[in-house]
């Protein structure tokens, strides 16, 4: 029963992405940005003269960083604002099922976006001798990173009923993990520097996009995801 409720909620959310323009705008913008920089502009695949998708992973890391909060911002904030949260939680739905459903819907949307970039992979593989392992690991990294940011986005959306606040808060939390921890830790030595650098999404993602799958990286992203989801659940259950 638990599974079917989560699936029902996830399906509704995914449909609503495609019924509104959200999904199409996200897909077009994501493919546009990443395609442009991967194939056409700057140090693109042809300039580098190397058959890999490093450029794409570098761009996708940033585009997803901005796009995910835009997808997650309304997930809970809007339900709270319009009162539909009350409808859901007075039916046989508990906060955990609700949040899992929403999380899965967002993750599915990102996976659809990533699936559309598979032609990049196929093209590069036909041009040169691509490292299949590293590419796969890069995609896995993107998915894990997205999962963590979705959870952070849901958390931001769970504590407010204002979508803009949710968006900005998600970006703010995101930027710390994405980038600021890296910057700070690079100037520090010893255990503190190591700790901060271990908490950096950037560092974990970069190592995965180079083709190194370390359990530490996977645990890090999984932990961040669980923490985000757990906090969202706590905040949604709190005001009862």
């Amino acid at each position: 029963m638990m599974k079917s409720i989560v699936a029902t909620i996830a399906r509704r959310e995914l449909n609503s992405f495609f019924d509104s323009l959200t999904a199409y705008i996200l897909l077009i913008a994501f493919l546009g940005f990443s395609g442009f920089f991967t194939w056409i502009y700057g140090s693109d695949v042809f300039m580098r003269k190397e058959a890999d998708l490093d450029v794409f992973f570098g761009i996708a890391k940033w585009t997803l960083f901005f796009f995910i909060p835009a997808v997650t911002m309304k997930m809970l904030a809007e339900e709270k604002k319009t009162g539909t949260l009350e409808i859901l939680l007075t039916k046989a739905v508990n906060p955990r099922q609700l949040i899992l459903g929403k999380y899965l819907a967002c993750l599915m949307l990102i996976m659809i976006a990533l699936a559309f970039t598979l032609p990049y992979y196929i093209s590069v593989a036909r041009i040169g001798d691509i490292d299949h392992g590293a590419t796969l690991s890069g995609y896995l990294g993107l998915m894990l990173m997205s999962s963590a940011y979705i959870a952070i986005g849901l958390f931001a959306s769970s504590i407010t009923n204002n979508q803009i606040v949710a968006f900005l808060l998600a970006l703010l939390i995101g930027i710390v993990f994405h980038f600021i921890l890296d910057v700070i830790s690079s100037g520090m030595r010893g255990w503190a520097g190591n700790l901060l650098s271990d908490l950096s999404v950037g560092k974990h993602f970069d190592s995965m996009s180079r083709g190194v799958i370390d359990t530490k990286d996977i645990l890090f992203f999984a932990g961040l995801t669980l923490l985000g989801l757990f906090l969202s659940e706590t905040f949604i259950s709190k005001n009862k």
Binding site: M1, S4, I5, T8, I9, R12, N15, S16, D19, S20, T82, G83, T84, E86, I87, L88, L89, T90, K91, A92, V93, N94, K240
Partner: protein
């Protein structure tokens, strides 16, 4: 399914929203929650539907106690105040979604949706998005999703707000029909609505129940007061007015309409007021054109109980 509420309380900060409320509702009974704004009606309903957790007290659904037993919600249909809905969803998709969440078996969902569309009169609008519907139709969608899983208990927070008079009558008929087999609790501040639909009234004020009974019962409680409307023809209106005032027990005389010579007389006397008025007219040789006893209005009972 019978409902039993025992010593229910809920605070928001320092404010007591609901203060030690107890009552019972039996299956097949329609109970109206009546009270001024902010009396605690909505908070009570939100606790009954498990949206809010009570600070103290128990809620029993049949023999199941409502403490995080979320299965109970499958037996409850709830129409919240303001009727929030997913604006961007088409009516049919929305009903399908609600039915799936409430655990209606997939094979039965289409039949249930057809029945709800028919019962709630949504046939012409069923393919539209909810956001495009008028307020009356939105309210019907709200009722339809509350009923989709055929719940045993129905909790409706102001079900007829925003409807036009025809729609109000239709919705009331629907509620009455449902009330024959289900346990229905509805809140309203429209008094005639309670009289028209409910078997029993609970008047709530400042978080407490101040009256509990049928409309008739409540009337009898406040029946120490008699009100009649009379039309008396006589030479001088002032004399009539003064004479009426001087009847024993009369507390108020109101000249309602000068041309019609229509008065409203209120009395708290033991003796029947209509007899007194009749004798007065005979003594003075006035013509009694009309005399109508007026029942104590529900409005008056309500005012009495909630303004103190």
């Amino acid at each position: 399914m019978d409902l039993k509420i025992n010593g229910l309380s809920k605070h928001f900060g320092l404010q007591k929203a609901v203060d030690n409320i107890s009552f019972e509702v039996r299956s097949g009974e329609i109970v109206g929650f009546l009270g001024p704004n902010g009396a605690g009606k909505t908070t009570t309903m939100k606790m009954l539907t498990q949206y809010l957790t009570p600070d103290h007290g128990e809620i029993w659904y049949g023999n199941r106690r409502s403490t995080e037993n979320t299965d109970i919600r499958r037996d409850i249909g709830y129409l919240p105040e303001h009727n929030p809905l997913y604006e961007e969803m088409p009516v049919l998709d929305y009903l399908n979604f609600c039915a799936a969440l409430q655990g209606v078996p997939p094979s039965e969902i289409p039949a249930r949706i057809r029945e709800m569309v028919r019962k709630c009169g949504l046939d012409d609008e069923k393919h539209k998005k909810i956001g495009e519907l008028s307020k009356g139709y939105r309210q019907r969608v709200g009722l339809a999703h509350a009923l989709i899983h055929n719940p045993k208990v129905l909790i409706l927070d102001e079900p007829t707000t925003g409807l036009d008079p025809n729609q109000i009558v239709e919705i009331r008929e629907l509620i009455k029909e449902l009330g024959r087999e289900k346990t229905v609790i509805l809140s309203t501040h429209i008094l005639s609505e309670v009289e028209a639909t409910c078997d029993r009234i609970l008047i709530i004020n400042k978080g407490q129940i101040v009256a509990d009974g049928t409309v008739g019962n409540l009337r009898r409680q406040t029946e120490s007061r008699q009100i009649i409307r009379v039309r008396i023809e006589g030479p001088s209106q002032d004399n009539i007015y003064q004479a009426l005032r001087q009847l024993p027990g009369v507390t108020m005389v109101d000249l309602v309409n000068r041309e019609d010579q229509r008065y409203e007389v209120q009395s708290s006397s033991e003796e029947a007021l209509n007899r007194q008025v009749f004798r007065l007219c005979v003594q003075n040789n006035w013509v009694l054109l009309e005399m109508t006893p007026t029942e104590t209005k529900l409005e008056d009972i309500f005012r009495d109980l909630t303004i103190k």
